[in-house]
């Protein structure tokens, strides 16, 4: 039973991340997820300290604030400060991460958050952390009660604004010209990324969550020609990675989140080499045929 629950949690995280990840990868914002996932750390710690509890509402609020901040600062440094793009991302997220680590080590007694958890999370521990009512009814892992609503919110957002998101993703100038509030959608996406990061934080950690956002959508992008297909494929890839990764991690007695990422990476490699359209070997064969014919 706990096996199924762990895989379910990993898959739910994977699905939420993949859906958002498709838009991020297509909009060349992949590294912003890396930045946000590091930068929500101080937000989480400050929320812990202020509320003196692991109250999810405060954690999501804290993380959301810092996620927004990161996205805003990166943009501001580039636009107003004329700092080159790579450096402005690098400066913002390492700074927030450093502040987060200082806070974690400073208040390690007050808050129940260790440094390992920050980096790679613990899926098994999250599965065992169940929600018990006062009369002893077991409602299952607490995380599930967060992940399911979050996924519903993401799906609703994407379904309602599908056309708009599509236009913004593929032709931002056109989107602006027909009066779509591009900045608003940008920050809505950022907010959803921050919420997803903080919800999956304990399960997969700050660094590995980046893989959940980027790898399945990138794999799907190598195969799909349409946005819908890309989203569906990336969901399939993340579920397969969760399933295989979990069982491999049991066999090798190691971190399940780490193993899921490794499997996702290997799937990417496989598709990258063998994809019918843009695959490495296929391309080589094509260029070889081209040289022969000329």
């Amino acid at each position: 039973m706990s096996d199924i629950l762990t895989i379910l949690i990993a898959s739910l995280i994977g699905i939420s991340c993949s859906i958002l990840g498709c838009f991020l990868v297509l909009r060349r914002m992949a590294l912003l997820t890396d930045a946000i996932s590091h930068a929500v750390l101080p937000g989480i710690v400050i929320a812990f300290l202020l509320s003196q509890s692991r109250d999810t509402f405060f954690m999501v609020l804290g993380a959301g604030t810092f996620g927004f901040f990161t996205s805003f600062l990166v943009e501001w440094l580039q636009q107003k400060g004329k700092i080159q793009a790579d450096a402005s991302i690098g400066i913002v997220f390492t700074f927030f991460f450093a502040v987060g680590i200082i806070l974690v080590t400073q208040y390690t007694q007050e808050i129940d958050l260790d440094q390992e958890c920050v980096l790679y999370g613990d899926l098994l521990h999250v599965t065992l952390d169940v929600w018990l009512l006062t009369d002893g009814t077991n409602l299952g892992p607490k995380t599930l009660w967060l992940l399911v609503p979050l996924l519903l919110i993401i799906i609703t957002f994407v379904v309602i604004f599908y056309r708009t998101l599509q236009i913004i993703t593929f032709d931002i100038v056109f989107a602006q010209s027909i009066g779509i509030p591009v900045a608003l959608f940008h920050y809505a996406l950022t907010a959803l990324v921050s919420f997803t990061t903080v919800t999956s934080f304990e399960s997969v950690g700050a660094i590995l969550v980046v893989a959940f956002f980027i790898i399945p959508p990138a794999t799907a992008q190598l195969l799909a020609k349409r946005l819908q297909h890309m989203i569906i494929l990336s969901i399939i890839f993340s579920i397969v990675a969760s399933l295989l990764g979990y069982y491999l991690s049991v066999i090798f007695n190691s971190s399940s989140s780490g193993m899921i990422v490794v499997v996702a990476g290997l799937l990417f490699l496989l598709v990258f080499l063998l994809a019918p359209r843009g695959g490495y070997f296929n391309k080589k064969k094509l260029s070889h045929a081209a040289t022969l014919s000329s």
Binding site: V25, R28, M29, A30, L31, T33, D34, H38, K80, G81, K82, I83, Q84, A85, D86, A87, I89, G90, I91, T94, F95, F97, A98, V99, I101, I102, T105, Q106, Q115, E116, L119, Y120, I207, L208, V210, A211, F213, I214, I215, A218, Q221, L222, S249, F252, N253, S254, S255, S257, G258, M259, I260, V261, V262, A264, G265, F268, F272, G278, Y280, K283
Partner: protein
């Protein structure tokens, strides 16, 4: 503070380390490849774990070789995918970074769950422990500093040329691949020897922020490096001082906070800053 011998060792180690990072970081910055340092730093973890698994001890040389191999592998994987696919560069960086780091975490947790007697301290590589710098580490860091300085004196001009006009370089018959390989090698060396002290995430900061500070004051490469060095040495002093005064505070993160302080100052007052908030208008 300097009375304590161990603190002095830590201080010297950290300063030399930030000198290394600033010098090589500047050349990566000029090529707009700052985030490559972040990827390499994450990719070193599986190498360290693998060589520990093979040798069962924390011998520096073997850890270094392992780190070097996976670090180099990450750089070549990025190039390989970039050449053969239409994926954006940021996506590729993200994939390679998180894949190698995931692999590292799998190996690290495997080692920890096996319960090898020698394994304690491997997790220092994640967040770093400047306090654990020994005199032997300082010697290694110092030799990297020496190698860096000599290489820069000999090849610095080529490193600049490759950032601004690599076509020119290949035209006069210099292999840009070779120069790129040298820069990559120096980057991996710097990160590998420094990672135990400041950790994976924050070593990237010490490579990225100083050149950004230098660039806010000058457009000459030598001055960018000098100003960057000034800022990173100052921040190292701040970091070591704070963690010495408040023993529970880690050194690495405070160095980064110091650097960001210098960066904000430069953003406001720097002669090359586009903000020029406090610039006195000439009439």
């Amino acid at each position: 503070m300097l009375n304590s011998y161990t603190t002095l060792i830590v201080l010297i180690g950290v300063i030399l380390l930030s000198i290394n990072c600033t010098i090589i970081g500047t050349y990566n910055y000029l090529q707009k490849k700052s985030l490559l340092a972040d990827v390499v730093a994450h990719s070193i973890l599986p190498g360290i774990c693998l060589s520990f698994l093979l040798t069962q001890e924390k011998d520096f040389l073997w850890l270094f070789i392992g780190a070097f191999i996976t670090g180099m592998a990450s750089i070549y994987t990025i190039d390989f995918i970039k050449r053969a696919s239409f994926l954006g560069e940021d996506t590729i960086l993200g994939i390679v970074l998180s894949f190698f780091f995931g692999l590292g975490i799998v190996l690290l947790t495997y080692i920890q769950n096996q319960g090898f007697s020698e394994q304690s301290g491997l997790d220092n590589f994640l967040l770093g422990r400047a306090a654990s710098i020994l005199i032997s580490d300082v010697k290694i860091i110092a030799s990297v500093t020496l190698i860096l300085v000599v290489t820069i004196i000999l090849l610095g001009r080529l490193f600049v040329a490759i950032a601004f006009d690599s076509a020119f370089l290949s035209q006069i018959g210099i292999s840009t691949k070779l120069i790129q390989l040298i820069i990559s090698t120096l980057t991996i060396m710097t990160i590998t020897v420094g990672i135990q002290a400041v950790g994976i995430v924050l070593i990237a900061a010490i490579m990225i922020i100083p050149p950004a500070i230098g660039r806010l004051w000058s457009y000459q490469v030598s001055r960018i490096i000098l100003i960057g060095l000034l800022a990173s040495i100052l921040s190292s002093l701040i970091g070591v001082y704070i963690s010495y005064t408040f023993p529970r505070s880690p050194t690495g993160p405070w160095i980064v906070v110091g650097l960001v302080g210098c960066f904000l100052f430069s953003l406001l007052f720097g002669t090359q800053s586009s903000l020029k908030v406090f610039e006195i208008r000439k009439i």
